[in-house]
C-alpha cells in the first residue's frame, strides 16, 4: 500500500485514504476542438513503464486533489505537488532527472 505525502499539509497519507485520478496534466479539449483532440483527451492515456505523473485525492481526509510523480515499476515516489498547475514544478523535474538520467522528461 502506497504512502504519499500531501503537498498542502505535509501529512503522510496511506493509500486507503486516497482515490486515484489517473494521468495528470491533461489538456481539456472542449467545444470547438477537433475530433482527434477530443478523442485523445477523453480516451488516450500514457501508460509508461517508469516515471508517471498522476492525480490523487485525499478523499478520506482533506478532500484535496494533488499530483504525484511515481515510478510505475518500483513505486518510488519522486515527489508530490499541488494540483493547481499545468506542468510539474522544475524542482521535481530536476530531481527526477538526477535520479533517472535516462528519463526523457515531461511531455
Amino acid at each position: 500500500m502506497l504512502m504519499l505525502r500531501c503537498p498542502y499539509t505535509g501529512v503522510e497519507i496511506e493509500e486507503t485514504e486516497l482515490t486515484p485520478g489517473g494521468e495528470a496534466h491533461l489538456t481539456r479539449f472542449g467545444p470547438g476542438s477537433s475530433d482527434d483532440e477530443v478523442t485523445g483527451y477523453l480516451f488516450h492515456r500514457k501508460n509508461p513503464r517508469g516515471v508517471h505523473f498522476e492525480r490523487w485525492r485525499h478523499t478520506y481526509g482533506s478532500g484535496k486533489w494533488f499530483h504525484a510523480a511515481r515510478c510505475t515499476v518500483t513505486n518510488e515516489v519522486f515527489g508530490t505537488y499541488p494540483a493547481q498547475t499545468t506542468e510539474p514544478p522544475q524542482w521535481l523535474v530536476d530531481k527526477i532527472k538526477a535520479k533517472r538520467p535516462d528519463w526523457e522528461g515531461f511531455e
Binding site: R28, G30, W65, T74, N75, V77
Partner: protein, 966 residues
C-alpha cells in the same frame, strides 16, 4: 512404533497432562505439545489420506511447512478445517478429526483411485483437461458430480463464527520477522540504535532452531525484554510484505485457549515499518524416492525436533537418508534417544567432516553413494529397498533394511517468501542448491531505497556447507510403473507428473504449476517447489535459475477469514446512514430498503397488507388525498461564491446563472464523456448561493465531482462547495390536499398558488420549525418539499402527520415514489441511465443548453457515436395484456426465434403496475425509440412465453402537468 520418551522435551511440561481426542478416541499429551507431537506420542503415525489417491499419510514436518497432517479442529461453530497439526498447540479438550477419507481413516474406499491410477493414466498431470472431454452429456451427470465430490480439502464450517477478531495498527522503525538467533540478534542491534522495534515469532517460543541444535537464547531474550523500545510477540506470524513498508502480522491470540474471555481469537497487525528484517530461517527439502509419502517417512530435522522439543521418538528402527551433513545431527539425536539407526544412506560418494565422524564414532553404518530405491509397507513404512545410485539408474545388490522410520534430508531452502512478496529478487546458490535474496535487488520503498533485508538462514547463511544437489532417486526397473515418487505431498504431484508436463510443452514453471497443481493449496509448495522446478529444469535441459521460481504471494501460511474481517461484521460491517425520521418509520411499519448507505422505507405496512397492497394504497392516497415522504436522503450541496453561477453553468447541461433568486430549476449533470450521471433540482437561495439537490445515493459522488473540477481545472473560479446533506431533514408533502395540510400545521408564509408558484422557493416557519419550502414535485401532484434543520426533522414530521390526519395524510415509501414518478415519465438515475445514456437519448434535449459556450460533456455529445442513428432511446410501453407487468430488464427482440440467439433491440428500464391508471406501465431503452411511436415489440420472457407491448409516450399520467400546477 512411535512413542513418548521417559525424559526430555524442552517445550513440554510433564506435570501438566492434557486430554484430547482424535477421530473420537481420547488420547493424552502434555502442555506444550503440538497436536502433531501428541499424536506421535500416542503412536498415531497414520493421520490422514492424500487428496487425489487417498494414500495413507503421516506427519512429515514439525512446523508451518507441513503438507500432510491437515486436520479438522474443534466442534460445532468452532470447527475449522485444514489446520496443520504441527502448528496447532494442544489444549485440554481439543477435538481433531482427520480428512479425505471414507468411511474411515483405516479403511478408505477412495484409495481405489490409486489402484486405478496404476492401470490407466487418470490423475496424471493435466488429467482434468484430458479425461472429461466426451461425451458431452456426461459432464452434467457423471463428471461434474464426481469432480465436485472429490474437489477441495476438508469441510467448510456451517455455523457463524462465534469468536471475536480485531485489527491493530502499528507504526515502527523496524519490523523483525522471526524469533530465532538471527532475528533476536537483529532486534538487539536495532534496539541498541534506539529504533522502535517490533519483533514477531510465529511459534510460541523464542530461539528457532537453537532450541534443537544448541545455543542458549534466554539471556538474549531477557536483554530484549528490558529494552523499552523493543516490542516482542510470539504466536505472531509475518504474513505479508507490501508496498512502502506495509506488512501484515497474524497473531493467534487465543487459539490455544479457546473462548478466553476478553481476548480476540486472532489479531491482524497492520504494520507500517521503515525497515523490515526477514529472519524466517529455512525449510528442509524432502528427497524424491519411490513411495516417499509413506507414513513414517519424515524430514530429518522434524525427527530431531520431536525428540528434543517434545520427548517423542517417532520410530524404533530408523534409516537416515540425506545429501548433506546436517542430517547427521538427526542420526545422533536418534541414537541418543535409544532408537536403532540402521544406516545413514548418503547420496554423496565420500561424506566427510565433523558430524560424519561423530556418527561414525557412534558405530552407525554410513553408506556413501547409496539411496532408497523404494520404501515398502502399508499404513506405515516397514522396510526400504536400497541400492547404489548410478546417475538415473539404481544398481547394486538388492538389499532391504527393516525400519519404521525414514529421516530424509534433501538440503535446506531459505524462507524467502516475505522478501519476495513485494518484488525482492533471488539468486541461485549452485553449491548449496538454494535460492537466496539478492541484496542488490531488494523491494524498494517510496524513497527508492530497499526496505527489506534478510538475516541468518533466510539469507542463505550457513546452508551451503557440505550439500550435494540431489533431485531424484531412481528406483529399480521400469520407471514410474507401480511406484510413485512424490514431489508435492499435499496435491499428490509426482516426479512423473512434472516430467510429463515438460514433455507436453509446459516450459514455464508458472504453467507447470497450474497444469500439475504442484505447489498449490494450503502449503503453497513449501516443501515441494524447489524439488519440482529442479525436476522441470532437468527435463528441459535448462539451468535451475533459468527456469525460475513461481511467484511468492501473501499470506505466508493461510490466515483466518475472521482476522481479515476484524471487527467489521454484523452491524459494524457497514455503517447505516439514518435520517432524523428513521426511528419513527421503524416504529410505523417501515419495510427497509438500502439506498446507497441509507436505509429508506420501501413502504409502510398496515395490518396484514402485502407489499403490493401497501404500495397501491400509498399511491392512491397521495393521488386522491395527500401523502408524506421522508426525503431527507436527497443530496444537498451548497455552491457559493461570486462565480457560483458561472461554475454551475459548466457543471450542468442547462443554464443556471440566469435562475432568479427564489426560483428552482431541474438540472442534468453529465460526465466529460457526455453521459448523464446525476440529476436534481437546483435552487438559487441567494445572489451568490445555490443549493444543488442530487440523487439519494449520489451526494458524495456529485460533491467529489464538483470539487475535482474546481480544484484541478477551474481553480481560478471563486467558489466554495459544501455537502450539507446531513444538516437538513427534508419532507415531501404531495397530493391535492398538500396545501391544506401545511396551512393546518401553521405556516407564516403565503402558500397560495399566486404567491408561491410552481418551481419557487421561500423561507419561513412551519409548525414552529424554521423551514425552507420548495414547491417542486416528483410525483406530479401539488407538492411541497420542506427542509428543516436535521434536529427539528422529527418534530416537523410528527406535526405534519398530526395536522394532515383530518385530510387523510399517509406516509409513503420509495416504491410508491417510484410508481408515481414512472406514471409521470420521470427518469431515475441508475434505472433509465447506466453510464452510456445521454440526455438526448432520454428525450431530455430541452434541458441541454444550445446557448452556452461550454459545459461538461458538450463537446463529447457532438461525437459521431453520440449523434448516430440507432442509439437506444427512451420510450413508454403498454402491455397487450394490461394486467401483466413486464419483467425488469426484459429484452425486446427483432424477431422471435427458437433455438438460436435472437437480436435484441432494447430493454425494459422501469416497470410497474400503475394503481392510478389500472394497467401496467413500463419504460424502455429501444433502438431509435423516439421515432417508433405506436410500434409493437416482442419480449420473449420465458421459454414458452412472449409478451407484447406497444410503444407509447412515457408520460402516462397528466401529460399537461395540470395536477402539480394548482
Amino acid at each position: 512404533m512411535s512413542r513418548r520418551l521417559d525424559t526430555g522435551g524442552a517445550l513440554i511440561d510433564r506435570d501438566a497432562p492434557v486430554q484430547f481426542s482424535f477421530n473420537g478416541e481420547t488420547l493424552r499429551g502434555f502442555e506444550g505439545d503440538t497436536l502433531a507431537s501428541a499424536l506421535l506420542a500416542n503412536n498415531k503415525v497414520l493421520v490422514g489420506r492424500s487428496f487425489k489417491y487417498h494414500r495413507p499419510r503421516g506427519i512429515v514436518a514439525s512446523g508451518a511447512e507441513e503438507p500432510n497432517a491437515l486436520m479438522g479442529v474443534g466442534e460445532g461453530a468452532r470447527f475449522e478445517p485444514n489446520q496443520r497439526a504441527t502448528t496447532t498447540e494442544l489444549f485440554q479438550g481439543l477435538v481433531a478429526t482427520s480428512q479425505n477419507h471414507w468411511p474411515s481413516l483405516n479403511t478408505d474406499v477412495g484409495a481405489l483411485n490409486a489402484w486405478v491410477a496404476d492401470m490407466i493414466p487418470v490423475f496424471s498431470a493435466g488429467f482434468y483437461y484430458k479425461t472429461f472431454l466426451f461425451p458431452r452429456v456426461a459432464w452434467k451427470h457423471v463428471y461434474e458430480p464426481f469432480i465436485r465430490k472429490a474437489a477441495g480439502l476438508g469441510k467448510a464450517p456451517v455455523n457463524p463464527d462465534p469468536d471475536d477478531y480485531e485489527h491493530f495498527h502499528a507504526h515502527v522503525d523496524t519490523l523483525i520477522v522471526g524469533g530465532g538467533i538471527a532475528g533476536l540478534d537483529a532486534a538487539r542491534a536495532a534496539g541498541a540504535r534506539g529504533e522502535h522495534v517490533l519483533l514477531v515469532e510465529q511459534t510460541a517460543h523464542w530461539g528457532g532452531r537453537a532450541l534443537v541444535d544448541g545455543g542458549d537464547v534466554a539471556a538474549l531474550v531477557a536483554e530484549l525484554e528490558a529494552m523499552p523500545n523493543v516490542q516482542m510477540r510470539t504466536r505472531a506470524m509475518g504474513a505479508g510484505v507490501y508496498d512502502h513498508g506495509y506488512a501484515l502480522v497474524y497473531e493467534r491470540v487465543s487459539d490455544h485457549r479457546p473462548g478466553l474471555p476478553g481476548a480476540p481469537r486472532h489479531r491482524l497487525w497492520r504494520v507500517r515499518a521503515r525497515q523490515i528484517v526477514v529472519a524466517t530461517g529455512a525449510i528442509e527439502r524432502p528427497l524424491t524416492f519411490a513411495n516417499n509419502d509413506m507414513p513414517g517417512v519424515m524430514l530429518a530435522s522434524a525427527v530431531r525436533d520431536y525428540i528434543r522439543l517434545y520427548g517423542v521418538l517417532p520410530g524404533k528402527k530408523a534409516v537416515v537418508y540425506a545429501n548433506n551433513d546436517d542430517a547427521y545431527r538427526t542420526a545422533i539425536a536418534l541414537h541418543e534417544a535409544g532408537a536403532k539407526v540402521k544406516a545413514v544412506l548418503d547420496v554423496r560418494a565420500a561424506p566427510a567432516g565433523e558430524l560424519v565422524e561423530q556418527v561414525r564414532a557412534l558405530g552407525i553404518d554410513i553408506r556413501p553413494g547409496t539411496g532408497i530405491a523404494k520404501a515398502r509397507g502399508g499404513k506405515t513404512v516397514e522396510d526400504v529397498e536400497i541400492g547404489t545410485i548410478a546417475g538415473d539408474r539404481m544398481t547394486g545388490r538388492d538389499e532391504h533394511l527393516i525400519c519404521d522410520l525414514v529421516a530424509m534430508s534433501g538440503g535446506w531452502s531459505p524462507v524467502v517468501h516475505l522478501w519476495s512478496h513485494c518484488g525482492g529478487k533471488l539468486l541461485w546458490n549452485a553449491e548449496g542448491a538454494f535460492f537466496h535474496p539478492d541484496p542488490a535487488r531488494p523491494p524498494l520503498g517510496e524513497d527508492g531505497e530497499g526496505f527489506v533485508s534478510c538475516a541468518g538462514a533466510a539469507n542463505g547463511e550457513g546452508l551451503d556447507a557440505a550439500v550435494e544437489p540431489h533431485w531424484f532417486t531412481p528406483s529399480r526397473g521400469k520407471y514410474a510403473h507401480g511406484t510413485k515418487h512424490f514431489v508435492d505431498f499435499q496435491n499428490d504431484v509426482t516426479a512423473a507428473d512434472v516430467r510429463l508436463a515438460a514433455r507436453e510443452g509446459y516450459e514455464s514453471v508458472e504453467h507447470t504449476k497450474r497444469y500439475t497443481t504442484l505447489g498449490m493449496a494450503t502449503d503453497q509448495g513449501k516443501t515441494s517447489n524447489i524439488n519440482g522446478l529442479a525436476l522441470l529444469a532437468g527435463e528441459l535441459g535448462a539451468e535451475i535459475p533459468d527456469v525460475g521460481t513461481t511467484t511468492f504471494r501473501p499470506p505466508y501460511t493461510p490466515i483466518s477469514m475472521g482476522a481479515i474481517t476484524g471487527a467489521a461484521k454484523g452491524p459494524l460491517f457497514k455503517a447505516v446512514r439514518q435520517t432524523p425520521i428513521h426511528g419513527w418509520s421503524d416504529a410505523n411499519g417501515a419495510d427497509w430498503e438500502p439506498v446507497g448507505d441509507w436505509y429508506r422505507p420501501y413502504r409502510y405496512k398496515r395490518g396484514s397488507e402485502t407489499r403490493h397492497q401497501s404500495v397501491t394504497r400509498e399511491v392512491l392516497n397521495a393521488r386522491q388525498n395527500v401523502g408524506m415522504l421522508d426525503a431527507s436522503t436527497l443530496g444537498k450541496i451548497v455552491v457559493k461564491g461570486p462565480d457560483a453561477g458561472k461554475f454551475l453553468d459548466l457543471i450542468y447541461t442547462n443554464m443556471m446563472s440566469t435562475l432568479k433568486p427564489g426560483r428552482c430549476r431541474y438540472g442534468l449533470m453529465c460526465t466529460e464523456n457526455g453521459f448523464l450521471f446525476d440529476d436534481g433540482v437546483v435552487v438559487r437561495t441567494g445572489e451568490d448561493e445555490f443549493l444543488c439537490h442530487t440523487t439519494s445515493g449520489g451526494s458524495d459522488r456529485v460533491h467529489g465531482h464538483l470539487e475535482e473540477w474546481l480544484q484541478t481545472e477551474w481553480w481560478d473560479l471563486k467558489v466554495y462547495t459544501a455537502n450539507v446533506t446531513d444538516q437538513w431533514a427534508q419532507i415531501a408533502v404531495a397530493g391535492p390536499k398538500a396545501r391544506a395540510v401545511l396551512e393546518a400545521a401553521g405556516c407564516d408564509v403565503d402558500l397560495s398558488a399566486e404567491a408561491l408558484k410552481f418551481m419557487s422557493y421561500v423561507e419561513g416557519t412551519l409548525a414552529g420549525c424554521p423551514v425552507r419550502i420548495f414547491r417542486i414535485s416528483f410525483s406530479g401532484e401539488l407538492s411541497y418539499e420542506i427542509a428543516t434543520p436535521a434536529g427539528r426533522g422529527l418534530e416537523l414530521w410528527e406535526a405534519l402527520a398530526a395536522a394532515g390526519a383530518e385530510h387523510g395524510i399517509m406516509p409513503y415509501g420509495t416504491e410508491a415514489l417510484h410508481v408515481m414518478r414512472a406514471e409521470k415519465g420521470f427518469i431515475m438515475i441508475g434505472d433509465e441511465t447506466d453510464g452510456t445514456v445521454t440526455p438526448q437519448d432520454l428525450d431530455l434535449g430541452w434541458a441541454v443548453s444550445k446557448k452556452k459556450a461550454d459545459f461538461l460533456g458538450k463537446r463529447a455529445q457532438e461525437r459521431d457515436d453520440l449523434v448516430r442513428a440507432g442509439r437506444k432511446q427512451l420510450v413508454g410501453l403498454r402491455t397487450e395484456n394490461p394486467d401483466e407487468v413486464l419483467p425488469d430488464g426484459a429484452h425486446a427482440v427483432k424477431r422471435v426465434r427458437e433455438h438460436v440467439a435472437m437480436e435484441t433491440i432494447g430493454h425494459v428500464t422501469s416497470t410497474y403496475f400503475s394503481p392510478t391508471l389500472g394497467h401496467s406501465i413500463a419504460m424502455a431503452l429501444v433502438n431509435d425509440g423516439l421515432s417508433r411511436d405506436g410500434e409493437w415489440l416482442d419480449f420473449p420472457v420465458a421459454k414458452d412465453k412472449v409478451m407484447r407491448a406497444q410503444i407509447v409516450s412515457p408520460v402516462f399520467y397528466d401529460p399537461e402537468g395540470e395536477k402539480q400546477n394548482v
